[in-house]
């Protein structure tokens, strides 16, 4: 057995203080295997040691919440005796090292979290962020990463049979060395069939099911808890390899086994593998777990206890089964051609006891690992930013050309090249798929529908993390409301740099607090999520990028989509023009793409007004008054109008106000939704009742977009002139 040296402790990314804490908890020096176990369980990724203190500030309860944070996924009541289980998970670090497998196993991991709860996954969305595809230095690498990530998501989701129904894809130089891959998955479960990751019933067997254990992914969780350096390129063996076919079998077998009533608890083996699943199940159940590693199905010979415990081989689950009913469960796994082996049992002593050929190689109190991980109140200063408050002088020569350039820019261009590679229809529930403000899924079991949206905005959060996080929540709820659904719950993924830097820690805390304020205000409690820190390469951190996923409830019906459907309808702006000034213009897409700078502050959000706008649009859509509906966000009003026109029917509008035209067309003030309607009076009555401004902008027309300001023509072009560059931009960028 290796002696535990300070070097070995440091190599496990444990501090000297943390090591002392381990010795104190055990009352002795740990064994090598135990050191490995502590290192993964106490890694940032598994223990949330830097964020835990602050995550408590998030609202987690509400009338729809059945299960908040702490389980594999959050669960909400969707009516009719059914529930939705959902969560976001990040796979940022692996996706940089090996884009295809990194992204694929990201999808696989979150799907397991969902069906661990007994829920059948019915939808996935992805939030992707990459460095610019045309970056002079690393453009080719960014293109390769994007292609690999998209192919990996497609490979896993398509084969597994879950539709990928939407998401976002954004480009900024800060993601050059740290792409973000956040996957939001949702499943449906009967409320009386929800399963939990708890080891209950002393003497019950602990059953290992699924793929065999190999040497892949050892220390994946610790890798995700460190910055990238030159050596990180050698971490490829830490990335796991996914097999979506195996996962599909595992899904069917687990759901079938759960039906028998013989399964007491279940936990997937994700980050930190067997280690995490055994000690968390014991800790949650208030029990202990004893396992014998020689019984664990292994892919290769000669694996050490350390390797078996830390392996992150994919597509594996741990079940606690009622004693005496093992055979019922084994029979189901045999039917699906999967390994199922009793590897241990639930004990009453609260210990995680690991044996190898009968010899005890690790013996640790479960609680010490799962619940007594260090919690840090890391020092923080002011959020990091180098952007100035004042922007440069600028003035447009050709606003139509600006609009076309914006539509052909990375963040705003058509992402069809990406989402057509995803099967977004399988399971025949996708009422509204990719390319809309939110996705809509009909729920066959209840006859109702769900809406899902996924949003983040690193630029806003970089300038002001608190306001940026509030804006992300507001936009996500607005997206769900725009299709007519009531937002009821949320999940988040917090992507930040190194929390040991006080100015990064400040970003994290500000963003969490802002998100908490907005989620409380919009009544969308956070039911679970994920924190991904150390998103830095060679000391350069990403923009603080909190991403939020919101779930909404609605009646089933044909969807209201962004596109104008026919000529001669009234184009209305629910929420009014909004306001902007020099400072608040610095985070916009116009500032990014046309001025090529970032400055000032994100748009101003009045949460109370926003909430009223959302209530109004839900009523307008719900009453069937809107023939199209699209929220104003990235790129502002002109981009929103152009997006509504891309189907072929455009608009002729005249805007009021005296603001400079760049602001009127392109400012990104929230709380605004463009609709087309044949019944403007009824729309106005609803808006007025909610105390919301409304404007009749003009009419839909065939094949053109013309925008005036008090009669002065600002934008004049055919829909074709807008559509072609928008459609071809991504493919052209990928060709390099």
């Amino acid at each position: 057995m290796s002696a535990i040296t300070p070097e070995l402790v440091a190599a496990h990314q444990l501090t000297a203080e943390e090591y002392e804490r381990i010795v104190r908890l055990l009352g002795r020096e740990p064994t090598y295997t135990e050191l490995g176990i502590f290192s993964v369980m106490w890694s940032e990724h598994c223990s949330y040691k830097s964020s835990r203190l602050h995550l408590k500030k998030l609202p987690t309860k509400g009338p729809y919440v059945l299960q908040g944070p702490g389980e594999n996924a959050g669960v909400i009541d969707i009516g009719g005796g059914y529930a939705a289980a959902f969560k976001i998970e990040s796979h940022n670090h692996p996706s940089f090292i090996e884009p295809f497998q990194g992204a694929a196993t990201g999808v696989g991991g979150i799907l397991r979290d969902i069906f661990t709860m007994g829920a059948r996954p019915i939808a996935v969305m992805d939030s992707l962020r990459f460095g610019p595809l045309d970056d002079p230095r690393v453009g080719p690498r960014n293109r390769r990463i994007l292609q690999g990530v998209v192919a990996g998501i497609a490979h896993y989701g398509n084969c597994f049979g879950v539709p990928t129904v939407g998401g976002e894809c954004v480009f900024e130089p800060c993601y050059n060395g740290n792409p973000l891959v956040n996957v939001f998955a949702l499943g449906i479960v009967r409320q009386d069939r929800i399963f939990y990751a708890r080891a209950c019933g002393i003497g019950n067997p602990v059953v290992y099911v699924g793929a065999k254990t190999g040497r892949d992914g050892i220390h994946g969780a610790s890798m995700a808890s460190a910055e990238f350096t030159e050596e990180s390129k050698q971490k490829r063996p830490n990335v796991q390899v996914g097999d979506p076919f195996m996962e599909k079998l595992l899904l069917e077998a687990c759901l079938e086994a759960m039906e028998t009533g013989a399964v007491v608890g279940i936990q997937d083996m994700g980050a930190a593998g067997l280690t995490c699943s055994t000690c968390e199940m014991g800790s949650r159940g208030g029990t202990g777990v004893e396992i014998e590693l020689s019984r664990v199905p292994q892919r290769e010979a000669g694996m050490t206890p350390y390797e078996i415990m830390l392996s992150e081989s994919q597509e594996r689950m741990l079940l606690v089964v009622q004693r005496g009913r093992e055979e019922e469960v084994f029979r189901i796994f045999r039917k699906w051609g999967l390994d199922a082996v009793a590897v241990g049992e639930v004990t009453g002593d609260g210990m995680l006891r690991v044996k190898h050929n009968g010899e005890v190689v690790a013996e640790i109190p479960s609680r010490a690992l799962a619940d007594e991980a260090p919690v840090y109140d890391r020092p923080r200063t002011r959020p990091f930013r180098t952007a100035p408050m004042e922007g440069p002088e600028f003035s447009s020569h050709d606003l139509t050309a600006d609009l076309i350039r914006l539509l052909a820019s990375g963040d705003l261009c058509d992402k069809r090249w990406i989402w057509e590679q995803y099967d977004y229809m399988v399971r025949t529930n996708t009422v509204l798929g990719p390319g809309a403000d939110a996705a809509i899924l009909r729920i066959k079991e209840t006859g109702n529908s769900l809406a899902m949206a996924l949003d983040g905005n690193g630029r806003y959060c970089y300038l002001d993390p608190r306001q940026g996080a509030r804006l992300a929540v507001a936009e996500c709820c607005r997206n769900v409301s725009t299709v007519g659904a009531l937002p009821v719950a949320a999940t988040n993924c917090l992507n930040f740099g190194n929390p040991e830097r006080p100015e990064i820690m400040a970003q994290l805390v500000e963003a969490i607090e802002g998100m908490g304020e907005a989620c409380a205000f919009f009544e969308t409690p956070i039911t679970g999520g994920n924190v991904s820190l150390y998103n830095e390469t060679l000391g350069e951190a990403i923009y603080p990028t909190p991403v939020v996923g919101v779930v909404g409830l609605m009646k089933t019906g044909l969807p209201v989509t962004p596109a104008f459907k026919r000529e001669g309808l009234h184009v209305m702006l629910v929420g009014g023009l909004g306001a902007c000034d020099d400072k608040r213009f610095g985070a916009t897409q116009y500032a990014k793409v046309i001025v090529r700078e970032i400055w000032g502050l994100p748009p101003l959000l009045d949460m109370d007004y926003e909430k009223r706008v959302q209530a109004a649009i839900r009523e307008i859509v719900g009453e069937g008054l809107a023939e199209s509906s699209h929220d104003v966000s990235d790129g502002g009003l002109a981009v929103a109008l152009a997006e509504c026109s891309l189907g072929g029917v455009g608009a002729e509008v005249d805007l009021p106000g005296d603001d400079r035209p760049e602001f009127v067309l392109f400012h990104e003030g929230p709380s605004r939704i463009v609709i087309s309607t044949a019944q403007p009076d009824r729309v106005e009555r609803i808006a007025a009742r909610h105390g919301v401004e409304f404007l009749r902008l003009g009419h839909t027309v065939r094949g053109a977009l013309r925008i005036r300001q008090r009669g002065r023509l600002l934008v004049d072009c055919s829909v074709e002139q807008l559509r072609r560059p928008w459609e071809s931009a991504l493919e052209e960028a990928l060709r390099g």
Binding site: N158, C159, F245, D423, V426
Partner: protein
């Protein structure tokens, strides 16, 4: 009528086919496990989409050897209606019930999209409810859907009026725009597009339902 829907490990459109038949069409359906030797006296068989056996080796190549396919082959030889959708089509060509092969899409990427098809023949138990030449909207979702066969086979398919559907705007490089073909007995249809995804107004098209309605019409005619 009772449809049998085969479930291979890795099938993932089995429930969609079941839902289309039972809820949208209003007939009975039952799942048939890949390891079963019997078709349980169903009136017609559907080989659904998905990734049977993970599509390892080659799409449909392993499914060909499953026990249930012996029963399906026998059923087809006796004139029973067999509809292979997407992966089901790939399995049918692998086991020789239909000619040709399905290879990687021309663009080498998976494509999921709503496409337009032209109905080339209504002289079959799968297409009798369409109009000849009708343009219908039925989505595709595949990575290996490029239909390939030697020129003589293609000529033969055309001469015998066995091309059921062609793509209006060929998405995957299929030779002669072929999207679906019949066997010589006209009782086996393989098609890459998913009619079960176009059977519900909520999914944006109900054109696919006509495939199932045609089958019901043929079966009720036969039983009369």
């Amino acid at each position: 009528m009772k449809f049998g829907i085969v479930v291979f490990p890795g099938s993932n459109c089995d429930h969609d086919a079941w839902y289309a038949v039972t809820h949208n069409l209003g007939h009975e359906a039952e799942f048939l496990w890949h390891d079963s030797e019997s078709l349980n006296a169903v009136d017609a068989v559907i080989l659904p989409g998905g990734f049977s056996y993970g599509d390892y080796l080659r799409c449909g190549a392993i499914a060909k050897f499953s026990r249930i396919m012996r029963a399906v082959e026998r059923f087809a030889r006796e004139g029973g209606l067999v509809l292979g959708i997407c992966n089901g089509f790939q399995i049918l060509v692998e086991c020789g019930l239909l000619p040709g092969a399905l290879i990687r899409n021309r663009g080498l990427r998976f494509i999921c999209k709503q496409v337009e098809l032209r109905v080339e023949t209504i002289n079959s138990p799968f297409t009798s409810e369409f109009q000849k030449g009708q343009i219908v909207r039925i989505p595709i979702a595949h990575g290996e859907g490029c239909y390939y066969a030697d020129p003589r086979t293609l000529d033969e398919l055309e001469a015998e009026d066995r091309v059921a559907f062609r793509y209006v705007d060929n998405p995957n490089g299929s030779l002669r725009d072929i999207a679906g073909i019949l066997n010589a007995g006209r009782n086996v249809l393989g098609m890459m597009p998913h009619p079960e995804r176009a059977s519900d107004p909520l999914m944006g098209s109900t054109d696919g339902l006509l495939v199932f309605r045609s089958m019901v019409a043929a079966l009720s005619h036969a039983s009369r």
